[in-house]
């Protein structure tokens, strides 16, 4: 991470906050060329660290007067690693799928970046905290111009429908810089809350905003806060649930790695409102970089008087600690999470009493999700009615989704509530890859369901998704094309739930196991038609008799696939056929004798050593040895491998 000078030793007055922001502006929009590399976990996985090293080497080696900075993830996952070049007075130019060896060529073009290598340009950034737009083009007095015909972010289908409130700073600021966060209007809301609003008034704004919990269930945040405000006994606690366990979802990771201060600010405001002096962020163990960036941000906030005793001289004290999860999905459930913080096994307990009355250490506790906390500063700064103006009558504001699976633009996106699934998948996501057909969209993780392609006109809000048999959930949105078998998907989620059930309720522990066995049987071609009724009965039973959300929603993946894709189950049962050609027991791999040209590409990847054939002669697969790994299908460039 970039080193930052301790400009913000003590922010004892508004002027100091302003000074901090000025320093931030100097690195955010410097008067010299700036090179940015997105180094969130996903960027790193794609090679961002190598790219960053190459940039530093080039800049230092040639003594170039350029600033080099890291940013979080802007959400354009399919193009990672991303490198951005900002020449003062010009739009910011984004390069995608950058390799260390192309860095030199990109930098060699400066100060006039060329269009042929780049993806798009950002002509300015919008800031929901201030409500203002910072234009990158000569101070904004000139119309925002693009560069050599490159599309602007505002024109790109991936970005044009997005509205970034939670992700306001992701991919813009250096997550290790408190100053840059301040330059974007950060901690202004905390200031406003502490010195201009009473706790009661902050609560009213949150209630007015209509914000609902972003962790999945959608409980009104204002009502939860009110309950904690009214609860007797103390000390009270604030918890940030960053145990992002849903597979296929990484919104929280994006925010924590890209803009950790937004969560911290939200939590301090929550503490002030509810009269709590201690906060805990519970982060999943699988996110080491998020833990590192959060720890750094907390330390900075403490040094700057934004955390600790007598914050900014207001008399209000609040501090935050981090608890690392230990790899248990059920700990995303609030009572299990609390048990885990207390050092016990993460087993949920019956509610009521809700954590608002009896939470951490038996005291009133407010647990909200990462996105919820990150939204709070915007509500305080812009007012609750501002947020309430976005979204649908019952679902306000925006929601971040991880748009992944079989979709062209895999991305982390933020859209107003009420945007239709079709707009998200087809427009923002660019649809399924060419030649494939969209089959379903899975939302809500293992608690959610599969929404069939015919229902993509559904608006994304809490009620609509629930009506379709799925849930909003934390925001994972996995697009599935015609190569996805819905029986296999049901089996996948049941396997997940069977593994992750804490075992406390008999119906969940044994029910998920039995359901998995039945679906497994069907995928092996050994199912009977009676199995479907049995599955439905079991699903109903598990849902009705489990104590926590994990068991109560466990039937959703089964019930939605049964509801919308019953034919596919029947094909497995009656015809012993897997229409998507996924279930291994029901498919065979062969080589098309007409197409195969004997290139040999499939021979070495074959896991079972089942493929034989001389060069330029027809290859064959020995069925007894074939493990159906599909490597030949991946390797063949001539579509000569047939799956039936």
């Amino acid at each position: 991470m970039t080193d930052h000078h301790d400009h913000h030793a003590h922010l004892t007055d508004l002027e100091a906050l302003e000074r901090c922001a000025i320093h931030g502006r100097a690195t955010l929009y410097p008067e010299r060329i700036k090179i940015m590399v997105g180094t969130a976990t996903c960027g790193n996985a794609a090679g961002a660290q190598e790219v960053l090293d190459a940039v530093r080497e080039e800049v230092e080696g040639k003594h170039l007067p350029y600033a080099v900075a890291e940013t979080g993830c802007i959400g354009w996952c399919s193009q990672e690693p991303l490198l951005d070049v900002w020449v003062p007075g010009q739009p910011r130019v984004t390069y995608g799928r950058v390799k260390a060896k192309t860095v030199r060529d990109i930098l060699a073009e400066l100060p006039e970046p060329k269009a042929d290598r780049a993806l798009a340009v950002m002509t300015g950034d919008d800031n929901p905290i201030t409500g203002r737009r910072t234009s990158y083009c000569n101070g904004g007095d000139r119309p925002e111009a693009t560069l050599n015909g490159l599309p602007t972010y505002a024109e790109l289908p991936l970005f044009k429908r997005q509205l970034r409130i939670v992700m306001r700073n992701c991919g813009i600021v250096d997550p290790s810089s408190l100053e840059e966060y301040a330059a974007r209007g950060g901690y202004r809301a905390l200031w406003r809350a502490l010195f201009s609003l009473t706790p009661r008034e902050v609560l009213q704004e949150v209630q007015l905003s209509g914000l609902r919990g972003r962790g999945g269930a959608g409980f009104p945040t204002g009502r939860k806060w009110q309950a904690v405000c009214e609860a007797t006994g103390g000390p009270k606690y604030i918890i940030c649930n960053a145990d992002e366990g849903d597979p296929g979802a990484y919104m929280d990771r994006g925010v924590l790695e890209g803009d950790p201060h937004s969560v911290i600010e939200g939590m301090i405001i929550g503490g002030y409102t509810m009269g709590a002096h201690e906060g805990v962020i519970y982060v999943r163990d699988e996110y080491p970089l998020a833990v590192a960036r959060l720890s750094e941000a907390i330390l900075q906030a403490q040094r700057a008087d934004l955390l600790g005793k007598d914050i900014l001289g207001s008399g209000f004290s609040f501090n935050i600690g981090i608890t690392r999860g230990a790899g248990a999905f059920v700990c995303g459930e609030e009572t299990a999470l609390i048990a885990s913080i207390e050092g016990r096994v993460g087993e949920p307990r019956p509610r009521p009493p809700y954590p608002a009355e009896r939470g951490l250490w038996g005291k009133p506790t407010c647990i909200n999700n990462v996105e919820t906390w990150a939204t709070v500063p915007v509500i305080v700064q812009r007012g609750g009615t501002w947020l309430a103006g976005i979204g649908t009558p019952k679902s306000k504001g925006t929601k971040v989704f991880s748009l992944v699976g079989n979709v062209t633009n895999t991305a982390l996106i933020e859209v107003p509530m009420g945007t239709t699934l079709a707009d998200v998948v087809n427009e923002i996501g660019g649809g399924v890859p060419a030649g494939r057909v969209c089959k379903a969209v899975q939302t809500g993780g293992p608690s959610g369901g599969c929404i069939p392609a015919e229902q993509l006109s559904l608006p994304v809000d809490y009620e609509s998704l629930t009506q379709a048999g799925s849930i909003m959930g934390s925001g994972g949105m996995i697009v599935m094309d015609d190569r996805t078998c819905m029986v296999d998907i049901a089996r996948y989620f049941l396997g997940f739930l069977e593994d992750e059930s804490c075992g406390k309720c008999f119906s969940c522990r044994v029910g998920t196991q039995r359901m998995r066995e039945i679906v497994n049987r069907i995928s092996l071609g050994q199912g009977s038609e009676g199995d479907l009724q049995l599955l439905e009965d079991l699903a109903w039973l598990v849902g009705e008799t489990s104590m926590c959300g994990l068991g109560q929603s466990a039937p959703n993946p089964v019930l939605t696939t049964l509801r919308y894709f019953r034919d596919e189950y029947l094909a497995h049962i009656r015809d012993k056929r897997c229409p998507a050609k996924v279930c291994k027991s029901l498919i065979t791999y062969t080589i098309d004798p007409v197409v195969c040209n004997g290139c040999g590409a499939c021979i070495s990847p074959c896991a079972g050593g089942a493929i034989t054939g001389e060069k330029k002669k027809l290859h064959t697969i020995e069925q007894a040895k074939c493990t159906k790994c599909g490597a030949c299908l991946e390797a063949c460039k001539f579509d000569a491998v047939l799956v039936n």
Binding site: C42, A46, R344
Partner: protein
């Protein structure tokens, strides 16, 4: 046999006080040092924190990140999140198992690798992915697996070989 490095354990104890809530962080520290939780150390933790041994055992076996058996040198975590599943994560897992001589997850016979599945690394946009030690590898194909593991086998890559890969 296990060589108990008391210094490390004492360090862990020194960093956390004896409150029960520190049980999990202390176990995490031990797991990170030894790559598993040795029984004699669990007994010492139990005495130190005054948490009955069965409860320490309960916590140690409930959470996925703990292991009671020694594990291979390199930790291979194949992601089986939904996006990875849809994009062939299971096939990557099978290939990793074949390449390491395993028929299921576990420690390979040559003690080089411990193969695990992980519920989601949060790199879904680049699925399928897997993590070896601290490096995350994206957009995997079966054909790449062998070469990748060989780099670890030969010592070209290893723990902390690539700085900054995970930020610490």
């Amino acid at each position: 046999m296990l060589h108990v490095e008391s210094a490390t354990l004492d360090e862990a104890f020194a960093r956390f006080d004896d409150r029960r809530e520190n049980l999990i962080p202390i176990l995490q520290e031990i797991q990170a040092t030894y790559s598993y939780l040795p029984e004699d150390i669990l007994r010492r933790v139990s005495r130190k924190l005054k948490v009955p041994l069965p409860q320490v055992y309960q916590v140690a076996t409930f959470y996925r990140c703990f292991s009671l058996k020694p594990r291979g040198k390199h930790v291979v975590q194949v992601c089986l999140g939904t996006a990875c599943h849809v994009r062939g994560g299971t096939r990557i897992l099978e290939r990793v198992e074949t390449e390491t001589g395993l028929s299921d997850v576990g420690t390979s016979p040559d003690l080089e690798f411990v193969v695990e599945t992980v519920r989601c690394l949060g790199c879904c946009g680049l699925a399928p992915v897997m993590r070896v030690d601290r490096d995350v590898y994206a957009s995997l194909e079966q054909a790449k697996v062998k070469r990748l593991l060989d780099r670890y086998r030969s010592g070209q890559r290893g723990r902390a070989a690539r700085k900054g890969a995970s930020g610490d």
